[in-house]
Amino acid sequence: MAFRVFPGDYASLAEIATFVRQVSIAAGFDSNTVYQIETAVDEACSNIIEHAYGGEHRGDIECQCEITAHSLTITLKDHGKPFRPDKIAAPDLKAPLKKRQAHGLGLYFMRQWMDEVHFEFMDGVNVLTLIKHLPG
């Protein structure tokens, strides 16, 4: 199991990506899947900073990665406001340019590219669990 705590700043995103990429490669995922996992975690952490903390420098992001025989589980924790994924409208990916909204893509990426995405709010902590199954 790997565990790191990062400041809730956008400047942390590159470091978080490196950490998650290393774990994903160690778990045995191919380069496409590693990119997908990196994207899901980047979107999740950007959401934490923007929505849960309401800005940078307001709290930490705890990142725990656990590799099992069949999957990689990434758990992200923050101490910000409860995140309500049901409040985020799904993006309309077929809308013409003029009507295309630019928000909602992050959550969409997470749900499309991870096998399981769970949001919980427990004892003042947002707990986001992202699971990717290993092939075979």
Binding site: D9, Y10, A11, L13, A14, A17, S31, N32, Y35, Q36, E38, T39, D42, E43, S46, I49, E50, P91, L93, K94, L97, K98, R100, A102, H103, L105, G106, Y108, F109, Q112, W113
Partner: protein
């Protein structure tokens, strides 16, 4: 992230290197705005050295395309898109909003 800007007679080429995430998206946005504020709206994004783009970067691209296509005065096109980044663009439905070219020369030639 570093961005290289090359101005041609008929268009501008921007080449971002590294990552476009929530930290660097404002820099990418500023680079595009600097071109459109000059009244130039034909822009090629050379993605050959782009390693990662998040939804924050995609939001910048959408906004830039809206600005450039207004009044039919121009367009943002994408060149040398790495396969992993193409996957992101396709998943976001951007393949219907942006022309893509296999190399910068053909993208520049489009204008």
């Amino acid at each position: 992230m570093e961005i290289t800007h090359t101005q041609f007679k008929h268009c501008d080429v921007l080449k971002p290197k590294g990552r476009i995430d929530s930290a660097s998206a404002p820099i990418f946005s500023d680079a595009i705005n600097a071109i459109t504020e000059e009244g130039r709206f034909r822009i090629v994004i050379d993605m050959s050295e782009l390693e990662f783009i998040s939804s924050a970067g995609l939001r910048v691209l959408i906004s830039a395309q809206k600005t450039c296509k207004r009044y039919n005065r121009g367009e943002v096109v994408l060149a040398t898109v790495p396969p992993v980044i193409m996957n992101s663009l396709e998943l976001a439905g951007f393949n219907i909003l942006f022309k893509t070219y296999p190399d910068v020369l053909s993208a520049v030639g489009n204008f």
